[in-house]
């Protein structure tokens, strides 16, 4: 709850910066604010009374996820400093991002459908806007527009689902619903329909196939920093919400959604990875990769066992920091070379060893090669999936991972093998720092994952 308040206040403060003209100070203020939020957030760890108005519950699960989100957000801010350079919209950008974070935090802690709905919207609406924040860039416009329409369309289904569940159980409260569906025995049919519609709505948010079509286009069109934000924080929050709703609330009726999620997971992994193979532009490729990663996380969600929560948390964290690194490098390279095609990376190993090494580490992590965080993330997911008996899904995941290696390595090969522009790219100090920190974090998480795994 403290996080929520702090983040909202930070958002408001950034709006005030315009009025009271302390815009220059805003960047440090936000960074400090995030650190403070992080600290206050983890103070509630293991605190017993943590439910607020039966709407939000800051249990360990929520705190773990929100801490990870805040952490990733912090890294993201380090990456995205350039995004806040533009004078005119600077405060708007700050506040929108911070409000989106509020939405994300709500999504990890909600206990009521109302909060779920509001959380999704608070997260989404700033995103619609931020995606379109390069106002004169047609692809940004297009991305924003597509995202908005499809998002609203999906929200329609989500709401219809909520309404039906309300009709069937008479409540928006997750706990009540949970007990309701177990007590009544013969749960009304409309409940199941509602549940499936919510599944559709959330699948859209996590970009599961076949509700993923927006993702590659939007990711490509959006400013790279916003793409990074969507690929990391939005996805993580959506999964936390998904997990809370389905693995906890709808646990007892899992039989009626498991098979569907099974298919969605398999399709998502395979389609995402396969389609990425043909991409020649890094950003779009990473977009497909992001789709694919959602598939793996769905696997963990599907497993519904003691590993699921930590698997998704860890996977989300590993994937997020990996993505932050890759997107940072992609944006640096794309800006310097004027192009985000894979060939722009040719010869990077020679001209900018640091970028190349960090990129390699991040890509290896995304591909799931030990000893990186990505490997361990996949490992936990495979374990949980195996435990749940989804052996074939693991098989599909292995296949998908192999395909994934195919395109991640194209970048590595381009960097180290292909001859290319040998002109050194200037990297700002904070980006260098960020990249080094992230690279170390990726490896450290791969070697000592226990710290995160044990959280929840």
């Amino acid at each position: 709850m403290k996080a929520l308040v702090l983040l909202s206040s930070l958002g408001v403060i950034s709006l005030l910066a315009e009025l009271f003209s302390f815009k220059k100070l805003l960047y440090p203020i936000v960074l400090l604010g995030l650190i403070a939020t992080f600290i206050f957030n983890i103070q509630d760890w293991n605190v017993a009374n943590n439910t607020f108005y039966n709407m939000l519950q800051f249990d360990n699960y929520a705190i773990a996820f929100s801490s990870v989100i805040i952490l990733v957000a912090f890294l993201w801010f380090l990456m995205a400093e350039g995004f806040f350079k533009e004078e005119t919209n600077m405060t708007d950008h700050y506040s929108l991002v911070l409000f989106a974070l509020v939405g994300a935090v709500i999504l990890v802690s909600y206990t009521n459908m109302t909060m779920l709905f509001l959380g999704i919207e608070i997260l989404s609406i700033p995103m619609y806007i931020l995606v379109g924040s390069s106002k004169n860039d047609l692809s940004s416009n297009e991305a924003s527009f597509k995202y908005l329409i499809m998002g609203a369309f999906a929200t329609g289904f989500l709401l219809f689902g909520i309404a039906l569940i309300y009709g069937a159980t008479g409540s928006f409260d997750l706990a009540t619903i949970k007990t309701g569906i177990s007590v009544q025995g013969a749960t009304p049919t409309i409940f199941y329909v509602g549940m499936l519609m919510m599944l559709v709505g959330l699948s859209f948010k996590v970009s599961a196939v076949p509700f993923h079509f927006w993702a590659p286009d939007v990711y490509e069109g959006a400013p790279t920093v916003i793409t990074a934000f969507m690929a990391t924080i939005v996805k993580l929050a959506a999964f936390a919400a998904f997990l809370r709703l389905f693995d906890v609330t709808f646990f007892r009726v899992s039989a009626s959604w498991m098979n569907i999620v099974w298919v969605l997971a398999a399709l998502t992994m395979l389609v995402g990875n396969i389609t990425a193979v043909f991409q020649t532009r890094t950003k779009r490729m990473l977009a497909y990769s992001s789709v694919a990663h959602a598939g793996y996380m769905l696997m963990a969600l599907l497993a519904m066992n003691m590993y699921s929560n930590s698997a998704i948390l860890f996977y989300g964290l590993a994937y997020s920091i990996g993505s932050i690194a890759t997107f940072t490098i992609v944006s640096i390279v794309a800006e310097a070379r004027g192009d985000d095609g894979i060939h722009a990376f040719n010869g990077l190993g020679k001209s900018n060893p640091l970028l190349a090494v960090v990129m390699s580490i991040a890509l290896l992590s995304l591909a799931g090669i030990p000893p990186t965080a990505g490997f361990f993330a996949k490992y936990v997911i495979f374990t949980s999936s195996f435990l749940a008996g989804n052996v074939f899904l693991v098989g599909a995941a292995i296949l998908a991972s192999l395909i994934g290696v195919y395109y991640y390595f194209r970048l590595i090969i381009a960097m180290y093998f292909k001859e290319g522009n040998s002109e050194k790219i200037n990297v700002e100090m904070n980006h260098k720092l960020l990249l080094i920190v992230v690279a170390i974090a990726i490896i450290a998480l791969g070697i000592f994952p226990d710290f995160v795994i044990r959280l929840i």
Partner: protein
């Protein structure tokens, strides 16, 4: 503690090397690996003869998942570590006449590779084993990618994906076994043995194949071998040596340590197919080696043939076969490094590896011819060379599995002679030609390498007892356990 030292010393050295500039890199790398070898020798001296696992170290690593950092060495592991630490300095020495771009990176990767390899051989925790197993892939991939030959991007990538495919299957099987462990799940080797042995026939079969695939691809066994000749050919000489000399042994070692005892019944009921594949591979690769024009490629195929025999012998699962496998791993490591080094020597001097275009080098440098011949004889397993001891034991082991199988496997004895002598004749004998006008004398490092290798070839051919004694009790214990679990 010595095990930890063995594992992490190369890693430290690798990191250190990154910061060394200039000519000193080679020497420092060589020095570091010699120190590592000295540590191994210390371990050898401290090793108590017997079948127990020694130098054990165990730390809780990922507590919540029952994963421990558990390492230790029994005879088999010790020999594998010995092989690694013996060969790596030699491999580094082979590069003394070569100037690689970014030498600090190159040698750092080689040492990182050593770190992973030693780790593979001493791991006593399934997860740790897997980590090291995969870890070994990364340095070698970059070695091949950065310093390899033509078409390397495509070929090394294929290598990477191919081996990764196998690894992931193994990971699947490991997780499956892990989840079957009793009580708090654990990756401890003993726990995995127990859970594997507790499975029924069908499931042991699945696990067998999943794990075997990883090893089969790494070794490689027919028909999973097609990455290998290309990769060996395209890799830089030192990379090839690492691949063939040591990395390949990860597969065979894996079969001994992580396949036989885990699913004995699965082995009993499925090994016939695996052995058949191995044996087919022997003849198949030998035949193909006969028609190779590129000497490096020829050796690559010959390696497939050799490793097929090792695999068949080990899977036959008797003391002679496994013991032979262990010994042959060592011998093959030494011999194949020697052969690839000879290829390197030739290529450096003549810029070609085409067997037909060389000739008459014996006229120019008899000394080289003799050393080459000794390595070659080791490779064709002439008695009193190291190759023979292993091959005899292996054939013995396979014979106990099936006489006809052994007869077919034994064809390698003949075919090996055919392709090896053919290439020796074409390269070394006869008159010199326009390509081989002169032969720059062997440098001292080249001489040193060849002489050390030849000494090892002859020394352990005549007196293999020390090696056999180290491996023997451990092998017997392992095989006895497996056979007991098989119900034989």
């Amino acid at each position: 503690m010595i095990t930890l030292l063995l594992i992490f010393f190369p890693l430290l050295a690798a990191l250190m090397l990154l910061f060394v500039k200039g000519e000193q890199v080679k020497k420092i790398a060589l020095g570091a690996t010699i120190v590592e070898f000295a540590i191994t020798v210390m371990a050898l001296l401290q090793y108590q003869q017997g079948n127990t696992t020694q130098f054990e170290v165990s730390y809780s690593w990922i507590k919540s998942l029952g994963i421990n950092f558990h390492v230790g060495m029994d005879g088999i592991s010790l020999l594998m570590v010995l092989l690694t630490t013996f060969l790596v300095p030699i491999i580094i020495l082979t590069s003394f006449n070569k100037d690689y771009r970014n030498p600090s990176r190159f040698y750092s990767l080689v040492l990182a590779m050593q770190f992973a390899l030693v780790g593979v051989f001493v791991s006593l925790d399934g997860f740790l084993f897997y980590i090291f197993w995969e870890l070994a892939l990364i340095p070698i991939y970059f070695i091949c990618l950065l310093w390899g030959g033509e078409n390397r991007a495509r070929i090394t990538f294929k290598f990477f994906v191919y081996t990764l495919t196998g690894s992931l299957m193994m990971l699947g099987a490991m997780i499956y076994l892990y989840l079957k462990t009793e009580g708090v799940h654990s990756f401890e080797i003993a726990a995995l043995y127990k859970s594997g042995q507790g499975l029924d026939l069908i499931h042991q079969g699945y696990v067998f194949w999943a794990i075997f695939m990883a090893f089969a691809i790494k070794m490689p066994i027919f028909p999973f071998h097609t990455w290998q000749p290309d990769t060996y050919t395209v890799a830089p000489a030192q990379g090839t040596m690492l691949l063939a000399g040591i990395m390949l042994k990860m597969g065979t070692y894996g079969v001994i340590r992580w396949l036989l005892p885990i699913v004995p019944v699965g082995v009993a009921s499925n090994a016939n197919i695996a052995i058949t594949l191995s044996v087919i591979g022997i003849v198949y690769a030998s035949c193909i080696a006969i028609v190779q024009k590129d000497f490096k490629r020829l050796i690559a195929y010959s390696s497939i043939a050799h490793v097929g025999l090792i695999s068949a012998g080990i899977l036959a699962c008797n003391v002679q076969g496994v013991q032979g496998g262990v010994i042959q791993m060592l011998s093959h490591g030494v011999n194949v490094v020697g052969l690839f080094f000879i290829v390197d020597i030739l290529q450096k001097r003549y810029g070609t590896r085409d067997i037909a275009s060389l000739g008459g080098i014996r006229n120019l440098n008899p000394q080289f011819a003799v050393l080459f011949l000794i390595v070659l004889l080791g490779s064709v397993a002439l008695p009193l060379t190291n190759g023979f001891v292993g091959e005899f034991l292996l054939l013995n082991g396979v014979f106990q599995y099936g006489a006809w199988t052994a007869a077919i496997a034994g064809l390698s004895v003949i075919l090996g002679a055919v392709y090896m002598l053919r290439s020796y004749q074409s390269i070394m004998l006869g008159e010199t030609n326009s390509v081989t006008v002169s032969f720059a004398p062997l440098s001292s490092s080249e001489k040193a390498v060849l002489i050390i290798l030849c000494a090892a070839i002859l020394g352990f051919g005549v007196y293999p007892k020390p090696l056999l004694d180290i491996a023997g009790p451990s092998v017997e214990k392992l095989v006895d356990g497996v056979r007991l679990a098989m119900g034989k």
